[in-house]
């Protein structure tokens, strides 16, 4: 019984993080800045760490998928949000997507890690890459298992 009350209390108790993050809204300058960031290349990834040294398993998975499709590193741009708090919060508001990594193609939000894995598995990623002028190496190497 006591634990029930404790749970109820902890669920209703305002929490400092919630207060801090709830009131975040993008300013016009931030919006313009993010607009140009997502359009920097046809393929843009906001991630934790760098392609060489990802700091999060989900970010690493996205890099591995791109590598698996033979996407050259000069074909896409990544932003390390761990080094840029403004972008870290801003991009979540911008795409209305709460988590990192975030992948953009032609300036449009495509999804996070789960969606990239899904698109990779069902073959859609090959098409999506083709749409932005990147030829997946899987097309040339049918031996490679998807």
């Amino acid at each position: 019984m006591i634990s029930l009350f404790r749970v109820a209390a902890s669920l209703t108790r305002p929490n400092i993080h919630r207060i801090l993050s709830a009131s975040y809204a993008l300013s016009a300058e931030q919006k313009t800045r993010l607009d140009s960031m997502v359009n920097k290349e046809k393929l843009v990834v906001f991630m934790k760490g760098t392609p060489e040294e990802p700091r999060c398993g989900f970010s690493r998975a996205v890099m591995e998928i791109l590598r698996f499709h033979g996407v050259d590193q000069n074909k896409f741009v990544t932003y390390n949000i761990l080094e840029d708090e403004d972008t870290r919060q801003g991009i979540k508001e911008y795409s209305n997507w709460p988590t990192i990594p975030q992948v953009y193609m032609n300036g449009e939000f495509v999804g996070g890690c789960d969606i990239m894995i899904d698109m990779h598995k069902n073959g859609e990623l090959i098409e999506e890459l083709q749409n932005i002028g990147i030829r997946s190496s899987l097309l040339d190497d049918p031996e490679k298992k998807v």
Binding site: M1, S3, L4, V7, S10, L11, N15, H17, R18, S21, A22, K48, G49, P54, R55, C56, G57, F58, S59, R60, A61, L82, N96, W97, P98, T99, F109, V110, G111, G112, C113, D114, I115, I117, D118
Partner: protein, 142 residues
């Protein structure tokens, strides 16, 4: 004899004076809520909200926090598997947005990472495999 009568009267009085309070556990699908779950308020609330909003035919809420560099017993990293008719003809990204939206409060306050598998019952019946979450790279809480 007297004692029996007296104790019966006392029982009756108790019933009248203090009606027994009933507590109802929140509906959690076909699983019973146990003490362990009550001590996991985030997991409990995720489960409750997903059930309320999607009436899933299958639901898994997996706390994967132990895989990451967070204190023991944390409720920071979750994987949810939601199989619902409500995802019928809804594109994947939209399904994710629906789930994110339902768990908005948790995402803002306590969830650090959320992996979502949102399937229709038809998809679920053909394949029940869910990819393993990637290992932590030490960036949690950074």
């Amino acid at each position: 004899m007297n004692t029996v009568l007296r104790s019966a009267a006392r029982r009756a009085a108790t019933r009248v004076g203090r009606p027994k309070r009933r507590t109802y556990a929140p509906y959690t699908g076909n699983r019973k809520l146990n003490t362990t779950e009550m001590e996991h308020p985030v997991e409990t609330s995720i489960r409750k909200k997903l059930i309320e909003n999607f009436q899933p035919v299958h639901l898994d809420v997996i706390n994967e926090s132990f895989m990451h560099s967070v204190p023991k017993g944390s409720e920071s990293h979750f994987k949810v598997i939601v199989v619902s008719n409500k995802f019928d003809k809804v594109p994947l990204i939209k399904r994710h947005r629906l789930v994110n939206d339902v768990l908005k409060e948790e995402l803002q306050s306590s969830i650090h990472a959320l992996s979502i598998f949102a399937k229709t019952p038809a998809q679920w019946s053909t394949s029940q495999t869910v990819s393993k979450s990637p290992p932590c790279q030490g960036g949690a809480g950074l």
